[in-house]
């Protein structure tokens, strides 16, 4: 893909960022908002991480040492909610804000003021959510999946705050998704046809449609909870003719597409990074697009594989088992395409590439344990054990989180105009890689042996593996401080980065100078 040089000089006359705090409060600039999202996500990643370490510290030894079971439950719940809605999702939206306009040759997002609003709702939503920790009766303690009646009849009073926080996050995500779709569909540079779009943009386009389809369903289910808790309805109350299993159906109708919302943008990032450092075009571009679309469509008809043990009819178990396994096909297409891109490439192993390669390997492990869980008769053994915890952490931590870290290292020179410290980046990678595997790999074994999730105490036989997992968690957690330190040093006094810091990098964003000017692509570039 080649582009005509853009006339960046013309914008010297244009205004730059507003001074002081008002720049961040009132900004409508996609780069500022992208930065806000990313910083917000990194902060909540640390908050959620501290909660994870509290959980692992309690599980370091059998018995109760540090926290009471009530507080432990609040920690597992808040850790899950904060990581899903506060860390992973905003990070991807932040990356989309920064990169989508740069990559498609648009001057900004389609709806800049809406963009400001979708970000600024989030701090308030999470202030509501986190404030519940200091309330009488404690924070939500029913798990991030908030199954009724645990989250209705037996919920702490703070559940109302939780419900409104979820409403606000939902509104923020939907507005963000609308903005991204409008930007991608209406603001591409001339000549940038849909099938010429970078894969990161393609994956985000599909993710945005998933968000619009399922975030309203989540809003619906928490609204039903609100009605049950405060207005005497019985959506999920069997005494009044409702059904708690209905909650699980509606929740997972949202929840399964949600897990793809957290992984499709990651696929996009990896599809940008691997071709760069293998110095080859991505293998099977069109099949990548179709595979993503296929995963998105299939995600709507597999939800009940989370509920094999609630008493589905046999036909239902079989249907959801086979459709779930079908998802392995398009996912396999993607993995093989990445491997084929690497094949005979001139690879170099800078930090983003290391994280991307670890993503491919470790996400595949997570995918395979997912296939094991999809086997309905076997799931009766695995259900609600640490095997499930191992599975979804393998797809979310070395999956989603590694891709976000890889994207950060990859585009940081473009954002800041400075290089990060490569050695520190590599040390960060190896510590994270070892930490992640030490934490989550033993969970497969203790899960298969029957240790239940969300319980603060466990049988003595699980002690050794739990100790290993806890040590790994602390290693992983504290090595993220290196990431923060590296970013701060990069922003303050990294050495200057050229416009194209990676010599295999292709795409419109690398045609721009580093750091990317406050206003870019004022005159749309031409894409041949």
């Amino acid at each position: 893909m080649t582009t005509a040089t853009t006339a960046e000089g013309s914008q010297a006359a244009h205004h730059g960022p507003a001074p002081g705090l008002s720049r961040w409060l009132f900004t409508t600039n996609h780069k500022d908002i992208g930065t806000l999202y990313l910083v917000f996500s990194l902060s909540l990643f640390m908050v959620g991480g501290v909660m994870a370490l509290l959980i692992r510290a309690e599980l370091f030894q059998p018995g109760l040492q540090l926290v009471q079971p009530e507080f432990f439950n609040q920690m597992t719940t808040m850790h899950g909610l904060i990581m899903v809605f506060g860390a992973v999702m905003p990070a991807f939206v932040g990356l989309a804000n920064w990169q989508v306009p740069l990559m498609i040759g648009a001057p900004d997002m389609a709806l800049p003021r809406l963009n400001n609003w979708s970000f600024w709702i989030l701090p308030f939503a999470f202030a509501l959510m986190i404030s519940t920790l200091f309330m009488e009766g404690g924070a939500p303690n029913f798990g991030w999946t908030f199954y009724a009646p645990l989250s209705t009849t037996y919920a702490p009073p703070s559940v109302t705050y939780f419900i409104f926080a979820v409403h606000m996050m939902g509104i923020s995500s939907i507005m963000g998704a609308i903005n991204i779709i409008a930007t991608i569909l209406n603001m591409r540079a001339p000549g940038m046809t849909l099938m010429k779009m970078p894969l990161f943009v393609w994956n985000w386009l599909i993710t945005a449609f998933l968000l619009i389809a399922v975030m309203p369903v989540l809003a619906g289910v928490v609204t039903m909870m609100l009605l049950d808790v405060h207005f005497g309805t019985s959506f999920f109350n069997a005494a009044g003719g409702g059904d708690p299993v209905l909650f699980q159906h509606i929740f997972w109708f949202f929840g399964h597409p949600e897990v793809y919302i957290m992984i499709l943008p990651a696929f996009g990032i990896i599809s940008q990074i691997i071709p760069t450092f293998a110095r080859k075009r991505v293998f099977g571009y069109a099949s990548m697009v179709y595979a993503t679309a296929a995963i998105a469509v299939l995600s709507f008809i597999v939800w009940a594989h989370h509920m094999f043990t609630v008493g589905l009819p046999l036909v239902g178990e079989l249907f959801f088992m086979f459709t779930t396994m079908l998802i392995a096909v398009p996912t396999g297409v993607k993995i093989f395409n990445w491997v084929a891109t690497l094949f005979r490439g001139s690879m170099t192993f800078e930090t983003p590439m290391l994280f991307a390669l670890a993503f491919v390997v470790l996400f595949t492990i997570g995918g395979f344990s997912g296939l094991m869980l999809a086997i309905a008769p076997a799931d009766f053994q695995y259900h609600d054990t640490y095997f499930v915890v191992a599975h979804f952490h393998y797809v979310l931590v070395p999956g989603a989180i590694f891709s976000i870290i890889a994207a950060t290292y990859y585009w940081l020179p473009k954002w800041t105009g400075r290089m990060y410290n490569e050695t520190m980046g590599k040390v960060h990678f190896w510590l994270s890689f070892i930490g992640v595997n030490l934490t989550f790999f033993p969970m497969h074994f203790i899960g298969l042996a029957g240790m239940p999730r969300r319980i603060p105490d466990y049988a003595l036989q699980f002690a050794d593996f739990n100790m290993v997992a806890s040590l790994g968690a602390f290693l992983f957690g504290f090595s993220q401080l290196l990431l923060i330190y590296n970013i701060v040093r990069c922003v303050r006094d990294g050495r200057g980065a050229p416009a194209r810091p990676w010599d295999g990098a292709e795409g419109l964003e690398w045609e721009l100078p580093s750091p990317a000017p406050y206003h870019t692509h004022q005159t749309p570039p031409r894409v041949d």
Binding site: L111, A177, L185, P216, V217, G220, F254, P313
Partner: protein, 179 residues
């Protein structure tokens, strides 16, 4: 031009979000219909089928069980816990509810049949299910139940379980509703 294009697209996307919010609520009645069609969840309709004949060739075991719910201070038990009967044969029995508290309570029993396949073949001719029952303090009351098992019951089913979960639905403040 771009403005009009954006407006059209955004209208569509917002309409889509609103529609999906509605779809979440539409899942509630859809789920109910789905359960009735498939017999999922053991939700039973009453008196659907006229029984034509008694199939004396085989015997089916019907178990009656009951369970309470949290906060309940009343009990429910079947007079006779198990029956061996021929499909088509009418069986009359009763459950006994006992209010163990010192107050008048309103209770409701919600039935369920297991396995789900058998739901449509267990016909209840008379049942107290889903009805609000006012039970005075300390009162013990017999609630009659009459049922048949359809002769169309698939051969591989030998045991059916009819269970009742008892809920206390005494209104907390409202006047008039209780008793």
């Amino acid at each position: 031009m771009a403005g009009a294009q954006n407006r059209r697209l955004i209208t569509g996307l917002v309409a889509g979000s609103v529609a999906m919010f509605g779809f979440g609520f539409a899942l509630v009645p859809l789920y109910d219909v789905f359960c009735r069609i498939t017999g999922l969840n053991g939700k039973v309709e009453q008196g659907r089928e006229r029984v034509e004949f008694i199939d004396a060739g085989r015997t089916v075991k019907v178990q009656l069980i009951s369970s309470g719910s949290p906060g309940l201070r009343a009990s429910l038990r079947p007079e006779v816990p198990t029956f061996q009967l021929h499909p088509g044969q009418l069986q009359e029995t009763a459950f006994v509810v006992h209010n163990r508290s010192e107050e008048d309570r309103v209770i409701r029993a919600v039935p369920s049949v297991a396995p789900a396949e058998a739901v449509e073949f267990l016909n209840k001719i008379q049942c107290f299910c889903f009805e609000e029952q006012a039970v005075a303090a300390g009162e013990e009351r017999r609630m009659p139940l009459a049922f048949t098992v359809s002769p169309r019951l698939p051969e591989h089913l030998h045991t059916l379980t009819l269970s009742y979960t008892l809920y206390d639905i005494t209104p907390s403040k409202e006047t008039g509703a209780a008793l």
